[in-house]
């Protein structure tokens, strides 16, 4: 047993081969004394450091993680550290949401000649980690199961009544199936079909449908149950021309897919209508008295902001304020971000709320780091690893080739363990950073009702704060993690020396 057992903490260092690794060598050659807690992993460039390396180390019990690369403008590959700076800054801002102290992670720049600087960096960082002490272990944390219950106020009226323009939409789709509509691209191939919704097996359920015939179009519905983001299906039709009916939030995913070149503009015809909001099935059932909650819903009637449900011959009312999905409550733009054929009257836009945080983020923001760890442990315990969150995500375009399924490299084990389950969610969230359009399908699809959307919302919020960017708005925009600026407006230089 090492004499230092119990005195040393476990700090992982990712060092660029061309500078910081050389800097550490220089410090060693100069016989500079330094703490020995750091375990160094040499990488070809700080740009090689996938933020998931850092997250995996921290989730699996590292007490601290240090990334060090070449000084900005001094990258061996000219721009690797510029990309790294964006990713790592974002990661540092992200860590608190899962209950990890952001001080346990740092990134900095040390060149090969700066032996003294390296010594200072290691000493400073190790001291900092020793002050923080050993990182709390997930297995020691007490789980908590409470969920956010706050129902945010609407910023515009939401309703569940019948849309008077639905017949017009059906007609527009029938026309488009018969004769390809004129679009900007000038593409005149016929449409293979149009993605939309029809009533499911239960009045509270809609289901996605691929309409090819006028009879199928007649079954199309538009209303509070059209919860699915149909953009999910678009990439699998790449190269084939189809139509899609979108809610405003869904259209953001279409924009993002276009921006990332995952679908082609000429392959898709977008049908939109003004959206009055969608509802949560769980919230509707919760509004019913316990004795009828599980019974078949015989009929649903929406009028204005009131939904009337008939169960066992009796009528029950629910207000949109109680049953609307969270994302709809703060939706300022109900008429779509991209449309080829917009049907009916526009719904009035609204001012975005002053405090745009979701109920889940408000709930998490009010917690301490320890409480957040407890929260995620309690929530992730019930994850069954079905990965419906991934499958329902329109931006999860790797589909059958997800890194989390790979055994080599092995990001995850098959073990039924909170750290594995949470780390999967972090892989998902990290791969959506700057790409997530906020449809919340991940959480809606979860059979266990785990609030996984908050993990993506935190990235969205930080992307907005650091880069002033929102995904799914402009198909010509470049996502912030795929580009860089030499001088970053909102990133301060990190100096540990």
């Amino acid at each position: 047993m090492s004499v230092l057992t119990g005195k040393e903490l476990r700090i992982v260092g990712f060092l660029c081969n061309w500078c910081s690794y050389g800097g550490a060598d220089t410090a060693g050659t100069a016989r500079a004394s330094q703490p020995t807690d750091l375990r160094i992993i040499r990488v070809p460039c700080s740009g090689r450091v996938n933020p998931l390396f850092v997250l995996k180390a921290l989730i699996n019990g590292a007490d601290g993680v240090l990334v060090s690369g070449c000084h900005p403008r001094d990258c061996h590959y000219s721009s690797g550290n510029f990309y790294a700076r964006r990713r790592l800054e974002l990661l540092k801002e992200y860590l608190p949401i899962i209950g990890i102290n952001p001080d346990r992670f740092e990134y900095t720049w040390v060149s090969a000649s700066e032996g003294q600087r390296w010594k200072n960096v290691v000493t400073t960082f190790t001291d900092r980690i020793h002050k923080l002490g050993p990182a709390p272990k997930w297995k020691d944390v007490t789980p908590r199961y409470d969920l956010p219950t706050e129902l945010l106020d609407f910023i515009r009226p939401l309703g569940c009544g019948e849309n008077p323009f639905l017949p017009d939409l059906k007609q527009a789709i029938k026309d488009a199936l018969a004769t390809p509509p004129a679009t900007e691209s000038g593409d005149d191939r016929p449409l293979e079909g149009v993605l939309g919704w029809k009533r499911g097996y239960d009045p509270l359920k809609a289901e996605p449908v691929f309409m090819r015939t006028p009879e199928e179009v007649d079954e199309l519905i538009w209303g509070p149950f059209n919860v699915h983001n149909l953009a999910n299906y678009l990439p699998q039709y790449k190269g084939r021309k189809i139509g899609i009916v979108v809610k405003s939030c869904d259209s953001k995913a279409v924009v993002e897919l276009l921006a990332e070149n995952l679908i082609r503009r000429e392959d898709v015809v977008i049908f939109g209508m003004g959206c009055n909001g969608t509802v949560s099935e769980g919230r509707i059932r919760a509004k019913l008295p316990a004795e009828v909650r599980d019974l078949p819903i015989e009929a649903v009637q929406g009028k204005g902001s009131t939904m009337t449900l008939t169960v066992a011959g009796k009528q029950y009312e629910a207000s949109m304020q109680d049953i609307a999905q969270d994302k709809c409550r703060h939706c300022p733009r109900p008429n779509g971000f991209i449309n080829d054929i917009f049907v009916g009257a526009e719904v009035a836009n609204a001012q975005p709320p002053a405090d745009g945080r979701s109920a889940a983020l408000r709930f998490l923001d009010a917690m301490s780091l320890e409480e957040r760890m407890s929260f995620w442990k309690g929530q992730m315990e019930r994850c069954i690893r079905c990965y419906a969150c991934r499958s329902a995500c329109p931006m999860c375009v790797c589909r059958d080739h997800c890194v989390s399924d790979s055994r080599d490299p092995q990001w995850l084990t098959q073990e039924d363990d909170v750290t594995q389950k949470l780390f999967f969610q972090l892989i998902h969230a990290q791969h959506l950073a700057g790409r997530c359009t906020g449809c919340g399908e991940c959480q809606r699809a979860c059979p266990m009702g785990i609030p996984v959307f908050a993990l993506k919302q935190q990235f969205g919020r930080m992307i907005g704060k650091i880069f002033g960017y929102a995904a799914g708005v402009d198909p010509k925009a470049t996502p912030p993690l795929l580009t860089y600026k030499v001088e970053e407006a909102n990133i301060k230089e990190r100096d540990l020396s």
Partner: protein, 355 residues
């Protein structure tokens, strides 16, 4: 001699408290918006209501956990022979005495479906077998059907006792418990509940009311042959799976899905060979090392899932379906895909097309 016993809610709760001291008591427990079979401690048992709820996920894990260590292996250097390693293998095959309380008849029948591949035939699974033997299943007769329920399609009903050791029915003022198996009767005898032969009519009335609440039945007698005959109809399966997202929610919630994968985790010097649930809806399920995947498309995966439940399994095990009609896959599907619809469609159109 009737095996009916009557217990007031308090008496039943008291008995469960006693059982929780000597057994692992698994019963429905609310966790967030979901309800799961979780261990209960005596001091947590203050109200019977949560234990009577319908669970979001099946109780399959009580006997076939989502993940279990089959072998724990370690290797240490041999001081005398530096070139060799001393390997140790430990195969923990322990089973805690368990009471599984509050499942529904469909849940209990799920174990009967699992028993056939795991315990019948040439090889028995010792891990599964040990847990199965150590588990007493106390089932709640369903008070009413949900819209997604279809246990009567697959040869069952809301008061089916198949697979249960004790079946209890809510009646006026309490519950009537009926010992079904020897194991169940022996356990029930320890409770000291009063004989309730006089409540037989009340129990029957409750069972009849539950049966009456079921949606119309569909005869699946010909399903094994008809689903098998559908095998080559790629258009049918493609059409039926257009909206499927190819996630695994249906299979992981299912009380009868029985497939697993085996992986080694840890390091060669200190690791675990674990068995964990697998899902045929995942493309990795059939991915071969060559890179070839016989079920690369989602329609082939869905065809396998339906085929296994309604055709292959019944053909192997005397016509028994490997679906108990609990409806969890329907209720929790993110795109409202309805297995009932696929099965009826597979059976219905087939004959017409053959003409």
């Amino acid at each position: 001699m009737s095996d009916f016993r009557f217990a007031t809610p308090d008496a039943l709760l008291g008995w469960l408290k006693t059982l929780s001291n000597s057994h692992r008591l698994l019963a429905p427990k609310p966790e967030g918006p979901a309800t799961l079979f979780r261990p209960w401690k005596a001091e947590e048992l203050t109200d019977l209501e949560p234990l009577l709820r319908r669970a979001t996920a099946s109780p399959k894990g009580a006997v076939l956990p989502a993940c279990e260590t089959l072998v724990h292996f370690t290797a240490t250097k041999d001081a005398d022979k530096p070139a060799s390693l001393n390997a140790t293998l430990e195969a923990p095959c322990e089973a805690e005495p368990t009471v599984l309380f509050g499942g529904r008849p469909c849940d209990a029948r799920g174990f009967v479906v699992l028993d056939r591949p795991y315990l019948q035939g040439k090889f028995q699974d010792p891990y599964y077998g040990a847990r199965r033997a150590a588990t007493v299943i106390i089932t709640q007769a369903c008070p009413s059907a949900r819209p997604v329920c279809f246990c009567h399609w697959v040869g069952s009903h809301p008061a089916d006792s198949e697979g249960s050791d004790i079946l209890f029915t809510a009646v006026d003022g309490g519950f009537v418990l009926e010992g079904i198996s020897d194991k169940g009767r022996a356990l029930l005898d320890t409770a000291g509940f009063a004989n309730a032969a006089d409540k037989a009519d009340e129990v029957k009335a409750a069972h009849d009311a539950a049966t009456a609440s079921l949606p119309p039945v569909c005869d699946l007698q010909d399903a094994p042959a008809k689903v098998a005959a559908r095998f080559t109809d790629a258009d049918f399966w493609t059409q039926e799976t257009v909206k499927c997202l190819s996630c695994g929610a249906c299979t992981y919630l299912c009380p009868t899905c029985q497939c697993f994968t085996i992986t080694d985790e840890g390091t060669p010097l200190d690791g675990r060979r674990i068995r964990s649930w697998d899902s045929c809806m995942s493309p990795q399920f059939t991915l071969e090392t060559s890179g070839h995947n016989p079920r690369a498309e989602k329609f082939k995966r869905m065809r396998n899932r339906i085929g296994h439940k309604f055709s292959y399994y019944p053909q192997t095990y005397d016509g028994a379906f490997s679906c108990v009609g609990c409806g969890r896959c329907v209720a929790s599907c993110p795109v409202a895909l309805d297995i009932r619809h696929i099965v009826t469609a597979a059976c219905a159109d087939n004959a017409a097309e053959k003409e």
